[in-house]
């Protein structure tokens, strides 16, 4: 690193890999960013984007590979160091201290106040006072403040992670304008977004990640969306459905679960659909489109802000997951660690719902419990050779345990949130078969998945949610991945209700 060539990239990351115990999050990620360039970093859910961002910003150290900033090995071990090296990130969650006012937050990060004020004004926030408490400001304002703070640090590289997600349209336009001006003035920007319209308006190139590796980098030009969707999906995605869907859901009669205008939190705005007995209904959405809130509401883990839920035609509202379970709605969360008692045995984990109620606090009917647990273990083919604590099981077996719990209890309506994330293909197949099997026996299944190919493998229909609303309902037969991907990115928006 003796002399810096003028044409050298501002940021050059090559061969970056990272694994978390058994899970490989990144295999071979790379990113090149030239002076004055805006590059979109894209990838489907689980492609390794967030891990890559954490490595670029110094929150994680890569196992292999290097990140060079302006030709210097930016061996950063903390966000503070990354900042000094010239890369300033704006995260999805505002990194401002809620209990300090604006001025103190600036002081904490050594941000020049005048420059900050300039950027706040330029970004269209007018009524800000320096003694406003951060915790009292709306989310959109906080994101702008975070961006203004980053700009005031005069970074060489600005990383914007879903910057526009919580912003109203006028602020989005401002942000894009300022970002473009910054790029024209010679700064470089890494732009992460699910919105093609913004990427088309702002970015010069798109670098695409798939399965933890960079699969290519393309120039942004009209009509490039299709190409990017293909890159994100990969060429070898199976086009044919494996599971035979002989059973067409009985479309008459009262639906098992009927949602009308459901809204919750800041992201779920207006969702309506019906789920019928014997049906597996897929839910397709990019990250953070309201699907988490949707499942939380149905599981009784969160209160809805608006809308109604009806079960078998009867209106229902849940104050606690116990209420939802009593109504037959059983929920398997996406993160196994949210469902499992890691330090307890398989049996205790599966039998947990059986002892949940006050009336079951006495002596456990051991024989009945053993029968139910054994039946559930056999049905899911859980490998229990590794006896003892559940945390010693493989990811796939852990996932099976979270489902087996409800098999042992008895399933009416099963809410599965991304049940196959990060598990092996054999276990995935078993889960598809189980889901079909349960539906055939009269259960209703709501199945959110981040893997689009699963819609054809396991579901009868899929609702597509974008920006907290249902934007499309697609029959499994028509649900090839490009169609789903386009719908999920809001490219084929057509308002419909199921």
């Amino acid at each position: 690193m003796t002399q810096q060539e003028p044409s050298a990239p501002v940021l050059d990351a090559q061969g970056v890999s990272k694994r978390f115990s058994a899970v490989v999050a990144l295999r071979d990620a790379s990113l090149v960013l030239n002076r004055g360039e805006v590059v979109a970093l894209m990838g489907a859910n689980g492609a390794g984007k967030s891990t890559f961002v954490k490595i670029l910003t110094g929150a994680l150290t890569p196992d292999t590979g290097h990140v060079l900033i302006r030709g210097k090995d930016a061996h950063v071990t903390s966000p503070a160091e990354a900042r000094r090296s010239g890369l300033v990130p704006v995260y999805q969650e505002p990194s401002l201290i809620p209990d300090l006012d604006v001025a103190d937050n600036l002081r904490l990060g050594n941000t020049p106040v005048e420059a900050f004020r300039h950027w706040v004004n330029a970004l269209g926030i007018t009524a800000l006072r320096m003694d406003d408490m951060i915790g009292r400001l709306p989310l959109a304002t906080l994101r702008i403040l975070d961006l203004a703070r980053a700009l005031a640090a005069e970074p060489d590289v600005l990383l914007l992670d879903e910057m526009t997600a919580a912003l109203p349209t006028d602020l989005v336009a401002r942000v894009l304008k300022v970002a473009r001006e910054q790029a024209d003035a010679g700064r470089s920007i890494i732009y992460i977004s699910h919105r093609f319209a913004e990427i088309a308006a702002l970015c010069d190139r798109a670098t695409v990640l798939r399965d933890g590796a960079t699969v290519g980098s393309v120039k942004i030009e009209p009509g490039i969306e299709e190409r990017i969707v293909e890159m994100m999906l990969g060429a070898d995605h199976p086009q044919t459905a494996v599971a035979a869907k002989s059973l067409k859901a009985a479309s008459q009669g009262t639906p098992r679960l009927a949602l009308r205008g459901l809204a919750a939190g800041s992201r779920l705005n207006d969702v309506s659909f019906d789920l019928r007995q014997g049906e597996v209904l897929g839910v397709v959405a990019l990250e953070g489109q309201g699907q988490d809130e949707l499942f939380d509401v149905l599981a009784g883990n969160r209160r809805a802000l608006a809308g109604t839920v009806a079960i078998d035609g009867q209106p229902a509202s849940f104050r606690h997951p116990a209420d939802a379970i009593a109504s037959g709605l059983t929920f398997v969360p996406g993160d196994r660690s949210h469902a499992l008692l890691m330090s307890r045995s398989v049996r205790e984990n599966i039998a947990l719902p059986l002892v949940a109620r006050l009336s079951n606090w006495g002596a456990i009917p051991l024989r009945d419990e053993a029968t139910r647990v054994t039946a559930a273990i056999e049905r899911l083919q859980i490998d229990t050779r590794a006896q003892g604590e559940v945390r010693r099981l493989s990811g796939g077996n852990q996932q099976k345990v979270t489902i087996a719990r409800w098999i042992a209890k008895g399933v009416r309506t099963l809410l599965l949130f991304d049940p196959t994330r990060g598990i092996d293909i054999r276990t995935k197949r078993q889960i598809y078969a189980l889901v079909r099997d349960l539906a055939a026996q009269g259960a209703a299944v709501l199945f959110y998945t981040s893997e689009l190919s699963e819609i054809r493998l396991a579901c009868d229909r899929a609702v597509v949610i974008f920006n907290g609303r249902v934007v499309d309902v697609i029959d499994a037969a028509d649900a090839d991945e490009p169609t789903l991907m386009r719908a999920a990115y809001g490219l084929t928006e057509k308002e419909r209700t199921a």
Partner: protein, 324 residues
């Protein structure tokens, strides 16, 4: 102006409550006056210093259950070393004890950061360790306090050019308290370290991302707590004239005063004036009960119940805050 008011509404409310209580006290006991204020100030002093210490660490997102034990260690150390010491020596003793307090706090903080065991467990263990240490230094109450130190907390201040009739209304103990507060806390609050305390307590991840060294900040907060504990220990020795190896009821009182004083358990919010006012309120309630010739043990129950209710209330508030 209204903003400053609304920001400090809790503190102002406490101040008003304290004023009301003072009036009530005067009504119950018409000859409540200079000596009453003086004894109130003296009784409140160790509690107030303990609460200051607790407030600092709670603001930074921790808790220190070993606070009262550290006070015991510093109290017996001061009393033992001062026994028979000259005035000059005893000044050195005080400085040494303050250093000792900060060192104990640093040990607590380092253990919390390095062992990754939660604060509450680490400081519970250290409660026993420091308590044992105090007993090793002095097996039974004993030792002595330097006369000048004892005089520091008795009577009113003397100020030049101000008539004594006025200065007697300002107990030395209260002045001592505010001097401690100003000397220890003001420089911190004004510097970036104070901001870092709030930042770490408010949102450790955001603080980390803003470039705050989270571990070191926590250790510093514990060190400041230790320093206040040392001041509290000295205050105990100052008012009793001896060293007290068995920790007094300062721990729970400090937690209660911190919660009542508007510092949120969990960190990031509140100041140090609120807890001080809360201590005076709690002490005054106790004093009023005594004046009404309520059994002192009943007073203890009432006081304990107030503290528990305050902490329970704080718990409910914290829970609501988490939900929204």
């Amino acid at each position: 102006m209204t903003r400053i008011l609304s920001k400090n509404i809790w503190t102002l409310g406490l101040a008003a409550l304290l004023a009301v209580l003072l009036v009530i006290t005067k009504l119950i006991q018409p000859d409540f006056g200079v000596s009453g204020l003086d004894s109130l100030g003296r009784a409140a002093l160790p509690f107030a210093l303990a609460s200051l210490g607790m407030a600092v660490v709670v603001i930074a997102g921790g808790i220190d259950l070993s606070l009262a034990s550290m006070m015991a260690v510093t109290s017996v150390t001061a009393a033992t070393l001062m026994d028979g010491a000259s005035d000059g020596q005893s000044v050195l003793v005080v400085l040494f004890v303050l250093l000792l307090g900060a060192a104990m706090g640093t040990v607590n903080g380092t253990l919390v950061v390095v062992s990754r065991v939660p604060d509450i467990v680490v400081t519970l263990s250290m409660l026993f360790v420091w308590q044992g240490t105090a007993l090793l230094i002095l097996n039974a109450p004993g030792g002595a306090a330097a006369p000048w130190l004892r005089a520091l907390s008795v009577g009113g201040v003397t100020l030049p050019f101000v008539p004594e009739a006025l200065t007697v209304w300002l107990p030395k103990s209260v002045v001592f308290l505010f001097v401690c507060l100003a000397v220890v806390w003001l420089p911190i609050r004004r510097s970036k370290l104070g901001l870092m305390f709030y930042a770490v307590g408010s949102d450790a991840l955001a603080a980390f991302r803003s470039g705050v060294p989270v571990g070191r900040t926590k250790i510093a907060a514990y060190a400041v707590t230790g320093l206040f504990a040392a001041l509290g220990g000295i205050a105990v020795t100052m008012s009793t004239g001896i060293g007290e190896p068995i920790p007094g009821p300062y721990l729970l009182a400090a937690v209660a005063a911190v919660v009542l004083g508007g510092v949120v358990l969990g960190g990031g919010r509140g100041g140090l004036i609120g807890p001080v006012l809360a201590v005076f309120i709690l002490r005054l309630v106790r004093m009023d009960l005594t004046l009404m010739s309520v059994d002192p043990n009943v007073t203890t129950i009432v006081e304990g119940s107030i503290m528990v209710v305050v902490v329970m209330f704080g718990g409910v508030v914290a829970m609501r805050g988490r939900r929204t």
